[in-house]
């Protein structure tokens, strides 16, 4: 299809990743940080940047060796079977995050917005729309992410601005109150929830422009957003935040502007727009991997199949908090992220080095 091939700009790509990461930030669950004080979360993004840069090193080295290929393209020349195994790992990883993204939306809607409503049809509707987004392709997703950002960023700024008069610095507690270990653990957890690194690993060759600059701005901006969000959550709500399932939603519901209260509707809008882009992108990547490296069926068929499996996965989780807690597990995410972002690129890197040495010897 004319719309799927071709490159997108760095700005569009990192905007897409920014929205994807914003979703992870705004859907932050208090259950992740049971043993940590919220004030420590202000310092956590800085640790996160450090860890993020370190784990991205293999990917960076791989990208430097060839800017026009992703790691799967590099592997397929060496071994078709290995390329297929790696691509399958990525598909599972992206599928898992698609299910979790929709499941969080479902949990939020099912427990906070419409506690008495059966969410199944909204869930199906949402997944169908995400599949539609994936069907339209990478370029279209890139373009629409910039348009979505035009709504998302001002909406978040507006919510924060309306909360400024409710900031109480007495709610801040000394940082590292429970030691450095817990902050480090939360930072690792947070990195584990970052599917964007794996997206970078696969999609970077389809991005044109100054990638280093784009990556740096993305890293700083998402860290800044996290810090600001946690700052407001901490100073406005204090310890009350840790009693809330979705603390940032509670924070937004405390926002007031003139005679309008309960600005959580705006927050929900931000959430949905980001979820749409993120899930659409993940489904697209899965279908793209399957078409390129398995390629027996059309991309549309793969999208329908992935959509169908996502619906089934989410229906199984919907309304079952135990199942959700099991699936949305930090350890699973950390392991999967480690495999896709560190282990796999390292394997490919070793292969490439060997190949290079072999070539040099032959010369």
């Amino acid at each position: 299809m004319e719309l799927t091939k071709g490159k997108i700009s760095t700005f569009q790509f990192f905007t897409m990743l920014f929205l994807s990461r914003t979703l992870t930030t705004v859907t932050y669950l208090s259950s992740y940080t049971e043993n940590i004080r919220l004030s420590d979360m202000l310092i956590q993004p800085i640790f996160r940047i450090g860890i993020g840069i370190v784990i991205m090193l293999p990917l960076y080295l791989l990208y430097r060796s060839s800017t026009s290929e992703n790691l799967l393209d590099m592997t397929i020349r060496k071994s078709k079977i290995l390329a297929r195994i790696i691509s399958l790992v990525y598909v599972i990883f992206f599928f898992y995050f698609t299910v979790v993204t929709i499941a969080r939306l479902d949990l939020f809607a099912g427990t906070i917005v419409f506690p008495e409503t059966d969410m199944t049809y909204i869930l199906i509707f949402a997944i169908i729309l995400c599949c539609y987004g994936a069907f339209l392709g990478f370029e279209t997703l890139g373009r629409s992410s910039v348009l979505s950002a035009v709504f998302v960023i001002p909406a978040l700024i507006f919510i924060m601005l309306t909360l400024t008069k409710k900031v109480d610095f007495l709610n801040l507690t000394p940082i590292f109150y429970n030691g450095v270990d817990s902050v480090l653990k939360v930072s690792v957890d947070s990195v584990g929830q970052t599917v964007e690194y794996a997206i970078i690993a696969l999609a970077l060759p389809r991005v044109k422009g100054n990638i280093k600059k784009g990556f740096f701005i993305w890293l700083v901006s998402q860290t800044f957003l996290m810090a600001v969000m946690f700052f407001f959550a901490c100073t406005v709500m204090g310890n009350f935040a840790s009693t809330q399932l979705f603390p940032f939603h509670t924070l937004a519901s405390l926002a007031e502007f003139a005679m309008f209260g309960r600005l959580d509707a705006i927050f929900t809008s931000v959430w949905i727009m980001c979820a749409f882009i993120k899930a659409g992108l993940l489904i697209y990547l899965q279908s793209d991997i399957l078409t390129t490296y398995f390629g027996k069926l059309k991309r549309t068929t793969y999208i329908i199949a992935i959509g169908f499996l996502t619906i089934i996965g989410n229906i199984l989780i919907s309304g079952q908090i135990k199942r959700f807690t099991f699936v949305d597990n930090s350890m699973i995410k950390i392991v999967l992220t480690f495999i896709t972002v560190v282990v796999t690129p390292l394997i490919v890197l070793v292969f490439r080095r060997k190949e290079k040495k072999k070539c040099e010897k032959q010369l």
Binding site: L129, T140, S144, M259, R262
Partner: protein, 501 residues
């Protein structure tokens, strides 16, 4: 025979288009030619055949009465030919000589394709056939009735010109020529419609148009598989994005000054004979919020008007849906001072808010459509029925609530501020009402995201519909929501092909 059941059903009631491209040449036997011409026209009462002797040679004139200016045909074509001396000429030589005898102010063309000659005769040319010749000469003496140039009816401007396109494409091209006194303005004629052979005139400026885009436009027009083309709207789907979308990447205008502005940005416009509207490709989303008045007024006021248009567009799309969603699911958003009034009013109506909104919007669309198609003299009656009977009485009777009526009123007025987007806006409004009534703000946001991505997919000529917002072109921001003054814009003009991904 088609395999598909639905295709077979279509085959039962349709016939294949007559798209035979076989050429029929002029025969040296005049009688044969005349028999063929008469066969083609049949018993048409308005086709005149006149037989003369020109210096002893048999000459036939064929013309369609009503399409030709009879006086011009007689005085400038027939008389000079029959009075001329052709004693030394015959056959092809006579045809060429006759063409030379006719005044230079008359369009002349010679062809050996008899079907082409017949098509020209239908369009107001007078044909001359003679013995032993392989050619027909055609004289353009068109004199069919046409509408005078009037004021625009849908694109009113306060300070712009008062001219609008008419049905005759030649007059429309003339209106553009008057505005562009430069040879860079070029036109190219493409015939569309297998039966109607309608002329589509592709207009562009050769020094700035993207050649690939121009080729693509001409190619798409040529490949349009239509039997009849009675308006520019017939060609719109062929020029638009291949991907189904609620928005269109093809714009239209009835103003020659707007068309001139568009081609000066490197766009391609298509004027279709018989339609007082020209098509513009590629057409961007932001252009729906521009008008010529923006450039004729002070920049700060133009900016204000553009903001107003954006707000009106958002009102016309979202207001009813949001009202339904908030009243049904998110009452906490409504300020305390308003909630009692709205709840009180809504509780007195028999229908749920969503159905109430659907009903009133449906009634509004019926009234609007009725008002559009009715004679102007009856239009006032429609307004009275709409305002008093449906509006006031329905509220008094407790069928509709007053806040809902306010929402509809505001939506209706807002939707006409950006009139070129009326079609998608009307459909989206209904969609958002239904989605808002079923799944609240959730559904609305999901649907909005889908609409955004749908609009982002439009990219028929390599220039995305959402450009210059996405892909972001900072240079274009000087004339987006804010417009800088002419002194700052200076000689630099926008180039549409530079807005590509």
């Amino acid at each position: 025979m088609s395999e598909n059941w639905f295709d077979r059903k279509i085959d039962e009631i349709t016939i294949k288009d007559n798209n035979s491209t076989e050429k029929r040449f002029v025969d040296t036997d005049l009688q044969k030619n005349m028999i063929y011409v008469k066969q083609q026209f049949g018993d048409a009462f308005d086709v005149k055949y006149r037989k003369y002797n020109a210096s002893g040679k048999k000459v036939y004139f064929v013309m369609v009465d009503g399409m030709c200016d009879s006086l011009l045909a007689t005085e400038q074509v027939i008389l000079p030919i029959i009075e001329a001396d052709f004693s030394d000429e015959s056959g092809d030589k006579l045809i060429y000589s006759a063409a030379d005898r006719v005044s230079a102010s008359i369009d002349k063309a010679i062809t050996n394709d008899i079907d082409e000659a017949i098509r020209e005769a239908i369009y107001g040319s007078i044909l001359m056939l003679t013995e032993d010749s392989h050619f027909v000469v055609m004289f353009g003496v068109q004199g069919f009735p046409k509408r005078a140039v009037l004021e625009p009816s849908t694109e009113m401007q306060e300070r712009g010109s008062r001219e609008a396109f008419v049905e005759s494409f030649k007059d429309n091209v003339t209106m553009i020529r008057r505005r562009v006194r430069s040879p860079v303005f070029k036109t190219q004629i493409v015939e569309v419609g297998n039966t109607t052979k309608t002329r589509a005139c592709v207009c562009y400026m050769s020094d700035r148009v993207d050649k690939k885009m121009l080729e693509s436009v001409v190619e798409r027009l040529k490949s349009s598989t239509l039997d009849t083309v009675l308006g520019s709207g017939y060609l719109q789907p062929f020029l638009d994005t291949k991907y189904p979308s609620i928005f269109s990447g093809v714009g239209f205008t009835e103003r020659p000054d707007v068309l001139t502005a568009k081609i000066s940005e490197g766009k391609v416009c298509i004027i279709v004979d018989g339609t007082p509207n020209a098509l513009i490709v590629p057409y961007l989303f932001v252009e729906h919020f521009y008008s010529l008045d923006d450039y004729l007024k002070r920049p700060y006021y133009a900016t204000f008007i553009r903001v107003l248009k954006i707000v009106s567009f958002l009102f016309s799309v979202f207001l009813p849906g949001l009202y339904v969603a908030i009243c049904t699911f998110h009452q906490e958003i409504i300020p305390e001072t308003m909630i009692f009034g709205i709840t009180g009013q809504e509780s007195r109506t028999p229908l749920p808010v969503m159905f109430e909104a659907l009903l009133i919007h449906l009634i509004y669309e019926i009234v609007r459509e009725g008002g559009l198609r009715m004679p102007k003299s009856v239009g006032h009656a429609i307004s009275i029925v709409g305002a008093l009977v449906i509006g006031e009485s329905a509220v008094t009777a407790g069928i509709l609530s007053a806040p809902m009526l306010i929402v509809v009123g505001l939506t209706a007025v807002s939707s006409f501020v950006v009139s070129t987007l009326y079609e998608p806006v009307a459909i989206l409004r209904f969609t958002f009402i239904i989605v808002g009534g079923i799944s609240g703000l959730y559904g609305i946001m999901l649907c909005f995201s889908a609409v955004l991505i749908n609009a982002s997919a439009i990219n028929p000529y390599g220039v995305p519909f959402t450009s210059p917002l996405s892909p972001t072109k900072m240079g274009a921001f000087r004339d987006l929501v804010f417009r800088v003054g002419w002194k700052t814009m200076g000689k630099r003009r926008m180039q549409v092909n530079k807005l590509e991904k």
